[in-house]
């Protein structure tokens, strides 16, 4: 059983690394567990929202948080076949510090037969003060039942 879990996590991790948009933003999966995913995105001048401050654009952080959330659904013990965002609400609490990577930690805390519920927090180097927090719902495609 532990082997099966590690296999699934390795698979989920490998799958994540193939998502083109996640790739173009430089996202790296740093941790995955049951219903949990941590993804890091390096600071990049192309992702800046305001050049006078060098602060990353909210859209890039949204993309990171959405990706981490989807990943947390994919490695939920219910082993979904696929998932897609239904809705995602993000509160921006402070500007991300220029030059620092952003890390999103997502948790799929509840699933029903067809819906997954997630919480996600984004931080920069100062992990005690979140940059943004989000809650969302995702679709949950159950794998076909073996007959």
């Amino acid at each position: 059983m532990p082997d099966k879990l590690t296999d699934r996590l390795a698979l989920a991790k490998a799958f994540m690394q193939t998502l083109p948009h996640a790739q173009s933003l430089g996202m790296q999966v740093t941790d995955m567990g049951e219903g949990r995913a941590t993804i890091t995105m390096p600071y990049d001048l192309r992702l800046v929202g305001d050049p006078s401050t060098g602060v990353l654009h909210g859209g890039a952080i949204s993309a990171l948080m959405d990706t981490a959330s989807g990943a947390s659904v994919m490695c939920h013990p219910s082993a979904p076949a696929s998932t897609a965002t239904l809705d995602l609400r993000i509160d921006y609490m402070r500007p991300a510090t220029p030059g620092q990577a952003i890390t999103a930690r997502a948790e799929c805390h509840h699933v029903t037969r067809s819906v997954a519920f997630i919480r996600v927090v984004a931080t920069d180097a100062d992990e005690s003060r979140p940059v943004a927090m989000g809650t969302g719902t995702f679709t949950l495609e159950r794998p076909p039942v073996a007959s």
Partner: protein, 164 residues
Amino acid sequence: MTRRPPEPVEVIKLRREAALARLVAGVPYIGFLGARFDRRGDELTAILPFHPSLIGNPLIPALHGGATAAFLEVTAIITLAWTTLWEDMETGRIDPASEIFPALPKTITFTVDYLRSGLPRDAYARATVTRSGRRYASVHIAAWQDNHAKPFAAATAHFLMPEA
């Protein structure tokens, strides 16, 4: 009593295009996404030409939810800044070529609803400023692809306005 002659259309267009270009150029992330803005009078339409790097799930394939959210967010920020800039620009209080250009609004909260999966083709979005106050503003954004009546994503956002 003599009436002032109306401004030549070329002058008006040049001024508006310069202000919009400056606003859009001020956000590097818009360039990264590859989005651009189309203007008809004061109405803006954001365009996101399809590019393979915008794909989230290569199996379907569908646009990445994060790319969609980012597209809606830049549409909201540019439209909101454009709306607040309009009056100052048209009355000549702000010169689009001047050094000082108002700061952009800051996102407080952004909520996206994904209505159908984003297809691997161009996307369009328009933002409506539902409330614009001195400190806070609220914006609604809808994005569509082939059929304007069938949006694939919609969002509500609240912004903190820059200090006047």
